[in-house]
Symmetry: C2
Subunit: 108 residues, 2 copies
C-alpha cells in the first residue's frame, strides 16, 4: 500500500497499537503489519522519528531496557495520549465519512 497517504494518520495508528500494552519500536512495526493483515508495511525511518515526536508531545513515555543483550526503547501511552487517541478515533470517523460521501455517494 502507498503508505505515503498515511499522512497525518500515523499518530493514530501508533497510539492505537499501544493502547493495551507498551511495546518497543520494532514490535510496533510488526504489530501494525499483523493487525492490518500485512497491508501496512511502515519503514523504520518513519516509525522511530514519529515515536520521538509523540513522546515530545507528551502522548507517549519511552524507557530504555535491555532484553537478551539487545537494547530496546519501550513506549507506553500516557493519560494525555489516551485522550489524544480518542480524538484521533473520532477524527478518523469524520474523515472517512467526508471522503466516502464524495467518493462513493449512496445513489439516492
Amino acid at each position: 500500500m502507498n503508505t505515503n497517504a498515511l499522512h497525518g494518520h500515523m499518530d493514530a495508528l501508533l497510539l492505537s497499537v499501544l493502547e493495551h500494552e507498551p511495546l518497543h519500536g520494532y514490535a510496533i512495526i510488526e504489530a501494525l503489519q499483523e493487525r492490518s493483515g500485512g497491508a501496512l508495511a511502515v519503514p523504520t525511518g518513519t516509525v522511530y522519528p514519529a515515536l520521538r515526536r509523540l513522546e515530545r508531545a507528551g502522548y507517549l513515555a519511552g524507557e530504555w531496557a535491555t532484553v537478551g543483550g539487545r537494547k530496546r526503547r519501550t513506549y507506553r501511552l500516557t493519560d494525555t495520549g489516551r485522550t489524544a487517541l480518542a480524538g484521533e478515533r473520532s477524527a478518523w470517523r469524520e474523515f472517512t465519512a467526508a471522503i466516502g460521501s464524495v467518493l462513493e455517494p449512496r445513489a439516492r
Copy 2:
C-alpha cells in the same frame, strides 16, 4: 476538518466530482463542500494547482470558456482519468480497511 490529512486523497476527490459532469474549479470546490455535508472546505490554493497537476497527468482535460463576462476553466474527465478514478476508489477501500483494522479492531 483538518484537510491537511487529505494528503494523497485529493486526486480521488477531484476525479470523483468530475465523474458525471465537467465542472470548473470554483464549482468543484462548492461540489466538494456540498457532497460532504460541509465537512470539506478545500482552499483555492489547493484546488487550482491540483487540477493543473491532474491535467498534466492526462487525467483531466481543461478548456477555457467565458460565462457572464467571467472566464472559467472547465475540466472534464478523460478516459485515462476514469481508469485512474477506479484505481483511486479501490485504493481508498484498501486504505480505510487497513487503518480501520488497526484503529478499530472488531473485538472478537
